[in-house]
Symmetry: C2
Subunit: 886 residues, 2 copies
């Protein structure tokens, strides 16, 4: 039997591993082997496999043969470097670093300078002619080793270091002399003996074995476990351990350390982007005490190094066919690469690079499509917080909520929508801060830079409307207590409260849910050719149609510009709040008889008709799905006494009547109350007016050559009887209007599937519906029993605790809600094979959910205009995945 | 080919039909044929089949052969009676009456005295020696015929009659002379000519054919269609038409008419119950002008008739093996039976008769079990409105709501629970009238005779709690506007409003949802031996276990008395409102830290423990399912400023803090908010306290010999992770307590399935749950998207419109909710074959729903104590049905 190979070695004349062996060698290890294979200068080393780690966890000890293989590898390193492990003259020093399949930055442990002891430190001093450097390296080894291997608190060492500086009367570490450091080494050793009940091991092999064990063990430390849970990384993968020859960038001005991206990670521009710090180690860069040179300065000061770097970067990029993130060190004029990996990048860089690589002939269009993360795509369309600002201003964070609509916004805190509108009209940039928003607030929301609410979840009113408007929004920031009377917002924290007054400036980040005090630096959005190019490629491969949720002709036009192929959801009620319309609506609600209601509705009809004409014109040639009235009627009446008085004067209706109607309409659980088609069934005249507006509008624009495809959608259906009731009325109006106009337009009548019962009885409902549109916001609410408005109280905690993997209002819950969808699609198509099926919940713009929609065979997804590009790309990726699978 | 038989004749020497031919001959016809067959005196007649009716509807004409067969039958009637149809000397008169398969009282048309015309009326006058009678009969025929056949408005004839009385200077019809009536006949004929554009037909055959057609047509009149829709009778059954020789009870003191029940329909006592009115026709009895003789007086005055009636009643009951409702007429001393059918009866009579019939050897136990309508069973346990009072006082009806808890109650209107408790303690009987109730109101509810709310549905708080208390309750009476400030209730009606003041007396009927002004006459409940006997038979055949929902030892004891085999749902929160406990609960909610919460919880622990001990003792030997805390926390804090002030003083907590906590806890849709296991997950110390109380109580009573089987039930689970989180904590506490007590009791941990997602992922959840209990109240809410509290706004209308066949909160929606249940049971048992599955929603006490539970293989149902007998019987019937089906 061939003994298992636990150790892979690489160096100038032998490379055991390859770049595609990430599972076995981890990402870092595979990269080192691959570079060695390509002839890129790397410090020689060896990689102990993830399998050895897994064995170690299962058995509590190294597998047979591992130590021998490591010894053989170390012998090779000695041969290649001409040094000797633990030697008092030419000591070989190594680092031991973890490296899992996927990068887990900073999660696991590393030990540097391994191989130093009381004897070899002298060798290092002699060899480098720099005793200060040698003792500093030794001190660091002891500290790291004590912490990582022996579990001694690192602060003890830091305290000693501080004491030593005081003793020496110096302020920085660098001012300590070799003598100071030598003394410190002794003190450190004493500390180890005292706190670990054992001496720091002088035997380098003991150091090595224990260091490898410690690196393996760090796979299971608390923060690594947490990180894996958050990122969905399996616990049983294990980590590899890399033993790499040390190279030092801090050996003088001909040494240094740096990082490089083969293209600009912020913009994607095809030019190398690097930072270099002479006479420094990686830690010094991280500590941020000295400012590294940017690429231009590097080119000027170290032209040879720059050229060399450029050359290797080109080779590597050519080889990896992607933008790379490289770490390098220069030791006495010699360049070494320590790490290669695919580079992280902003959304816009991601797009630019993918498209450029296609143009450069390096990757195919399909590869380009697969490489762009659709979640990042939306970022491009909104201002974003400058990452550098965040690094510098983390302490300004006030609180966190649920990220509900992407982009960042800066503005003054304003607590009510009227005031927000007033200030905005006067030129002030404002952030509307509310407990929650209601349809009443829309005007104020439209004028604000962004919206922040204390309540609600990712599909609350504030969230949905903000996304529709393309405005940054953070919801469910439960720590906020809003006092409208005193015009203050109190941020309740564990260590006391802070009070913000109206007019103070804050910044909200709709990508992360964070709220900051003061004005942050934003990066403006930028449209560019690569964006359109990529999406045009996406359109070629996707099967799903992409529509937009749009309520106004302006939204519809924007949606078309983003590539929407129709409207999947026009919420008619959003049209009722503008100008004079609201009064007609309110009169309708206050009416006592059907006649009065009809009179008020007749006044609404021309408005609705104009709106619909606008939508039809904007979507010439594409379907427009119009939902009949959905929200509970009380949303249209004012709740506070003052506004009720004003309304009373305006309409000439006794305020007492308004009050009593508001009271009669109030509900304990309006989400499950008198709304949706329930309204249209009890007040058929409402549905009739809306149907009339739709069909008259359609006929009028059809006459002038617009191609209209109205789809009338009945909301909140839970039984077939409800839909039948509404369909009969809508059809009757359609016939009437067509007869009157002498025009006939093709139309469909269908229903939202947003109540579990509708999904469960989809076979029956499909007998009456020509299309289904999954209203996954409500369907998620009812399937989980989660109110989108109240979920902030426990959902963030659920996700933190791992009870839910993600917010089901943002990413479709495939297991539960998805099961209902799957069932409804199958059953519905059994009854009606040509049933058109789409989704118009917020999930229609979420890439993972779009993938699911593709898999279950929907015809289209519909989302807010700004997410249309996201959906187009996600749909293309889903189609490519489908192709792969057969 | 044998020609189809459309006509079945019965008489002294030939009977074509049988009693089991109801489908063909209708109920009335089949009864007449069967009586004739048994030798019971019936006026001879013939029945035209329902098939003829169906043919008539399909083809618009009588089928071939029908007329010939009718003529043959009429010839037989002539032979048997010695009279001749249309004869001027001995005219044969007949009635034409509808008669469907099932009784549809008053829904369809009847024509009497057919065969009279200007000539035969003289014959009748001569034959009877009573011209007044003859012309009165003729007048009535013309009126009925004009109305039913020719569609002339009946009021026109009534106006003429009134005018004639004025002319004659008399007040009652009876005072009109033969001459007056003869003149009236002429006026009536003129009216017909004028309004129907045709003369009243003198040809008796024309009369007959058109009358038969009219009776057929009446099957499709609007009120019959409506009736069928309500009672689920298929439209295509059609009605039979009976042509029956007329007999007259108004031919003098040796004539008369009456009805008889073979047993007392109110009590079930085995003695005949009859009413008899001499010298009268059926119409006179209905008109209620004269008071009929009761059976005792009849026996005294007409002993021979009484004996004859008794004899035939015995023969018929022996034959039909059930209590019968008979109509009879005496013509000149000769008794005729006109109708036989199974008699309607009260719930208690139903039980008594079924059990008596078994004892008399007439039916089997299984038949007895099948014959008792479980919906009627509950009636026996509560006071009910005297039907006679309702007949006389229909105008006192104020409004209707949803019947939520059975029984009737009389009391003074009181608008708040404190006042209700005060008045009740002073000896006043009160009805608590509220917009809706909350857990705060429980004390007041307990002291009231009944509860009436303006909002809510059949599973609202008021409904559920009332049923638990066995108190009459009407909810969702949306016409009520309650003004607590002015202490009035306004009943908004279409014809104006009425104002009730606090202290006025009303009556509520929890069986029908009706509310009456003033004090109604009630029939008290009565327990009796037959009830227990019947239920003991039910217990022998049923497969389902029956448990009770009970929160207190008193409820538990009552449930045991009703035959409950354990507790299926103990709502721990109901225990938190009594006495001092509420303060500890409130302190817990107001606590800022886990420590403070734990301190408050520690004070609650002893109370909970005592409660659980009481439950365990009452259910010695049976399982007790205890649900951990379920309602949202804001339910425990006062909302009004006054009570907040009081609480502030009591607890020494700033009122500002109470207010702000209330505000922070308020939710837009609390039903879908921070409640159920979501509380126990975020505040694990609550679950831990409750688990501790359960297991300590169990150990303490187990030590003294009580057999305890606690089942801890986690509410509102939507993901397996939630249940696992809570199970881990509960198990840890159990281990701790068992160790401390040195006692181990068997226990189970399971979950409510009350959220669609839990049902959809039942396979996964069953891995963690040892039992499921379907919480069908919440499951119905979320599956339909109906809030139980707000459904009153549209659900009654939905049922009226036929969009839903019944209230899904009262009777399980098998198609939607039932599908989730079926799925969850199957998937759950796939994962865990011995999974125990029950139901604890209100449907557990609804007979139809119990049948479904049996069919899908549940182990038990659980319902409020008063419905335990209902469930026992329903379970038995379901088992019997199952046996039938194989």
């Amino acid at each position: 039997m061939v003994p298992t190979r636990w150790v892979y070695v690489y160096g100038p004349d032998r490379v055991d591993g390859r770049g595609d062996m990430k599972e076995l060698l981890g990402g870092k290890g595979a990269g080192l082997h691959e570079m060695a294979r390509l002839g890129i200068p790397v410090p020689p080393g060896l990689t102990i496999t993830t399998e050895a780690c897994v064995y170690f966890f299962r058995n509590g000890s190294f597998p047979e043969g591992l130590k021998e293989q490591v010894r053989e590898g170390m012998a090779l390193l000695e041969r290649w470097t001409g040094k000797k492990f633990g030697d008092r003259v030419h000591p070989l020093l190594v680092s031991v670093r973890s490296g899992a399949r996927v990068s887990m930055p900073g999660m696991m442990d590393t030990i540097l300078n391994l191989g130093l002891n009381d004897e070899s430190v002298q060798g290092l001093a002699a060899q480098t002619g720099n005793p200060r450097f040698a003792y500093d390296s030794y001190r660091r080894l002891i500290e790291m080793y004590a912490d990582v291997v022996l579990g001694v608190d690192r602060h003890l060492f830091e305290e000693r270091l501080e004491a030593k500086k005081q003793e020496a009367g110096v302020r920085s570490d660098a001012e300590l002399s070799a003598e100071h450091l030598r003394a410190l080494v002794e003190e450190y050793k004493a500390l180890v003996e005292k706190h670990a009940d054992q001496a720091f091991p002088q035997d380098p092999w003991t150091q090595l074995w224990l260091a490898i064990q410690a690196v393996f063990a760090s796979w299971n430390n608390a923060r690594a476990q947490e990180y894996r849970k958050i990122h969905g990384i399996p616990d049983d993968w294990g980590t590899a351990a890399n033993v790499v020859t040390m190279v030092f960038g801090n050996m003088g001005e001909d040494s240094g350390t740096g990082v490089a991206f083969t293209r600009d990670p912020a913009t994607g521009e095809p030019r190398i982007y690097a930072e270099y710090l002479p006479n420094a180690q990686g830690e010094d860069v991280v500590a941020g005490i000295r400012t590294p040179y940017k690429i231009e300065e590097m080119q000027r000061r170290f032209p040879e190094l720059y050229e060399e770097l450029l050359r290797y970067a080109r080779i590597l990029e050519e080889h990896y066919r992607d933008m790379l993130d490289l770490e390098f060190t220069v030791e006495k004029g010699k360049l070494y690469f320590l790490q290669v990996r695919v580079g992280k990048r902003t959304g816009r860089a991601m797009i630019r690079i993918a498209v450029d690589l296609v143009k450069e002939g390096k990757i195919t269009r399909e590869e380009a499509l697969r490489r762009v993360d659709p979640y990042k795509l939306e970022e491009v369309l909104h201002p974003m917080l400058d990452p550098a600002w965040i690094r510098e201003n983390g302490h300004r964070e006030l609180t966190r909520g649920i990220p509900a609509s992407p982009g960042a916004a800066v503005g003054t805190v304003v607590l009510d929508p009227e005031e927000a509108a007033r200030r905005a009209e006067a030129g002030e940039k404002v952030i509307l801060v509310r407990a929650e928003t209601s349809p009443d607030d829309i005007k104020g929301m439209a004028r604000s830079e962004g919206i922040l609410t204390a309540r609600g979840g990712a599909t609350s009113h504030a969230a949905v409307v903000s996304r529709g408007m393309g405005k940054p929004c953070v919801v469910g920031a439960e720590a906020l207590q809003i006092d409208e009377e005193n015009r203050t917002v109190t941020v309740v924290g564990e260590d006391g409260s802070r009070v913000l007054r109206e007019g103070e400036v804050i910044t909200i980040d709709g990508n992360t849910g964070r709220v900051y005090q003061g004005e942050a630096r934003l990066i403006p959005p930028e449209m560019f050719g690569a964006f359109d190019t990529l999406l045009s490629w996406a359109d070629e491969v996707r099967k799903l149609r992409v529509r937009a949720n749009a309520d106004t002709p302006e939204d519809a036009a924007r949606a078309r510009a983003f590539g929407a192929e129709g409207i999947g959801l026009a919420r008619t009620e959003h049209m009722f709040f503008e100008g004079e319309r609201i009064y007609a609506m309110q009169e309708m609600i206050l009416a006592d008889t059907e006649e009065e209601r009809r009179a008020a509705l007749a006044r609404l009809l021309p408005y609705q008709k104009e709106d619909f004409k606008g939508l039809f014109r904007a979507m010439d040639g594409y379907p427009v799905t119009i939902r009949t009235l959905d929200p509970p009627l009380h949303e249209f009446l004012p709740k506070d006494p003052e506004s009720q008085q004003a309304l009373s004067r305006k309409l000439g209706v006794p305020v007492e009547k308004i009050r009593s109607r508001v009271e009669a309409l109030l509900e304990l659980n309006p989400m499950l109350g008198f709304r949706g088609c329930r309204l249209g069934i009890l007040y058929p005249e409402i549905t009739e007016m809306q149907a009339r507006a739709i069909f008259e509008a359609a006929c009028e624009v059809a006459r002038v050559g617009v191609q209209v495809y109205p789809e009338v959608m009945v909301p909140l259906v839970s039984t077939e009887g409800e839909l039948r009731n509404q369909r009969d009325r809508i059809e009757a109006v359609a016939r009437e209007v067509f007869d009157a106009y002498g025009v006939e337009v093709p139309y469909k009548i269908g229903t939202m599937i947003e109540i579990p019962r509708a999904a469960l009885t989809a076979d029956e409902i499909a007998g009456t519906a020509e299309f289904f549109s999954f209203g996954t916001n409500d369907l998620t609410q009812t399937t989980f029993g989660f109110s989108r408005d109240d979920v902030g109280k426990f959902l963030p905690k659920y996700i933190e605790m791992g009870i839910l993997p993600h917010d089901p209002f943002q990413r479709l819950d495939v297991q539960g809600v998805g099961q209902l969808i799957r069932w409804a699609v199958q059953r519905g198509r059994q009854t009606r094979p040509d049933l058109k099926v789409g989704i118009c919940g917020e999930h229609g713009g979420d890439p993972d959910s779009v993938r699911f929609c593709h898999q279950v065979g929907l015809d289209y997804v519909s989302c807010s205009p700004y997410r249309v590009p996201v959906a187009r790309l996600a749909a293309a990726q889903a189609a490519l995945d489908g192709k792969d699978q057969g």
